[in-house]
Symmetry: C2
Subunit: 83 residues, 2 copies
């Protein structure tokens, strides 16, 4: 699993799946990503499932990818190393 | 928005979108649903986005819908009235 650039509904997005041992760990990670999202005022889509969290970044205003999305992806990776 | 029975990858699932005023409220709801999921040992897919949370229930073992999924959907609705 690594970041992939996908196109969904015509919008380019950065998406990565993070694996965890259980649901609670995945949800804890979702909350950690949510915290940096709130701090930056830039919000991803966070799909939480048993054993995995899928994080999707894109810039709503430009309906695509901006430099900031790549920065947030890198910050998400850093959070993952702590979870 | 109400519960819909959808079929994804050949698996029947119950899905509903809940609307919120912001990201934090959506994430708080995701956590509340996560709490009852952990308590029951039955885990949905929870998609958290700015202003909305999408909850999807199904029974992994039978790859489809079981009575318990409808019970969890009703409990999710009850949580929504408190959020």
């Amino acid at each position: 699993d690594d970041w992939q650039v996908i196109t969904r509904d015509g919008v380019r997005q950065l998406e990565r799946v993070f694996r965890f041992d259980d649901f609670a760990s995945a949800l804890a990670f979702t909350n950690a990503v949510g915290e940096i999202a709130e701090a930056e005022g830039h919000h991803p889509a966070l799909l939480t499932e048993w054993g995995r969290a899928t994080v999707t970044w894109w810039s709503h205003k430009i309906r695509g990818l901006h430099r900031n999305d790549f920065i947030m992806a890198a910050r998400t990776d850093k959070l993952a190393t702590e979870h």
